[in-house]
Amino acid sequence: MEYKIVLESFEGPMDLLLHLIDEAEIDIYDIPINEITEQYIDYITKMEEMDLEVTSEFLVMASTLLEIKSKMLLPQVDKNDGEQLEMEEADPRLELVKRLVEYKKFKYASRELRNYEEIQKKVFYKPKEDLSIFTKEEEELEQIDIDELVKAFNNILAKSKGKEPLMDIDKIQREEYTLDECMEKIKRKLKYNGKIDFQHLFDNECSRQEIVVTFLSLLELIRMRYVVVYQEENFSDIIIKIRK
């Protein structure tokens, strides 16, 4: 007869290790590395038997455990200088313990956030009223002079000047920013308020290439009629808005 063992699912090797440590009720700072390694390897063997995918991360951790285990078997030498050994050298477990403790903190924090989430799921918000009937049509791009956009673009470019060396023409460089990526980025920035100031499209740290590609993506988005750009009045900031 076939029977199934229910295996708890873990978020990864750290999660599994923490579980084993909790289960065994041992001090995280004094892990009996022998036992834990054995249990850990047991567990991933079971995973394999059950045709669960054992990702490489689990295997990396297994080898880390084995490495620590073997280091702990080695006699401690080199104390002849009378110098005290660094903690790391003294206890091969320390590095792992540090990582476990760090991970545990966030694991707990995420449980706490889960409670917050449960409460907030019970809250309702009202969608924004459709105010488009009140919007004046002439606010759209058709009313903005393309020169204004180019001027604003030059301002941004001027700001970034001197931040990077002149391009090395001998070498062909890989495209760091693709149009698609930048268009996605603009869309994401627009997602929150539905509009954004032209200046805010660019971080202060923007490279020249990033600026150019972002600007091209903006033009592309305008062409696709995804956004409109407008100005409240002459010389004021240029606003980019999602077209409804």
Binding site: E11, F106, L113, Q120, V123, K128, Y192, E205
Partner: protein, 182 residues
């Protein structure tokens, strides 16, 4: 304009806007300085709570929004067929809490803490608008750095990032072991 009128207008604005409305916008619209608007809004929040109104005003990083109270959920639910609203996966939530406390942070740093790859989780979180790219680090590979959004605050009912639950401090225990080993 007396304060009662101002409050009424703000309530109307929040109702129409639906989304979080910034203090700055409100102040510009009603032509009252921000400091004063902020005080009035604080009063409104208290009054809404005190009178046990069905709606409340929440504040997210100086943005204000109307919403219902969680305790009325069971009644509101009767308007519709009950359905469980999807929660974040454990992986996404773990990733998100690391970002929340350690932002700005790169993908690599998150993965070092979690010990697993986080591409999928990051993608989900970004699609849900809970995190966003905050720029790039000026070092090899120019890795993207991530941070949380205002939507993140709303999603968990926090006013600012300072309202995050305090990380359990393990430092005391750490000093413990040193004593033990001596």
């Amino acid at each position: 304009m007396d304060e009662r009128e101002i409050k009424a207008i703000i309530e109307a604005l929040l109702f129409v806007w639906g989304d979080p409305l910034s203090l700055n916008d409100i102040s510009k619209i009603i032509e009252v300085e921000e400091e004063k608007v902020k005080k009035i809004l604080k009063n409104m929040i208290d009054e809404f709570d005190f009178n046990r109104r069905g709606l409340k005003i929440i504040c997210l990083n100086d943005n204000y929004q109307l919403c219902t109270r969680p305790e009325h959920h069971q009644w509101i639910n009767k308007l519709t067929q009950e359905k469980d609203i999807k929660s974040l996966s454990t992986a996404a939530l773990e990733t998100l809490s690391i970002i929340a406390y350690k932002q700005p942070i790169t993908k690599n740093e998150i993965e070092n803490i979690r010990g697993v790859r986080c591409d999928k989780a990051l993608d989900t979180l970004q699609k849900k608008g809970l995190i966003e790219e905050k720029g790039r680090l000026e070092r090899t590979g120019r890795p993207i750095i991530y941070g949380t959004t205002t939507e993140f605050l709303r999603y968990f009912g926090l006013e600012t990032l300072e309202d995050l639950p305090t990380l359990k401090d393990f430092k005391i225990e750490e000093s413990d072991i040193e004593i033990k080993e001596e």
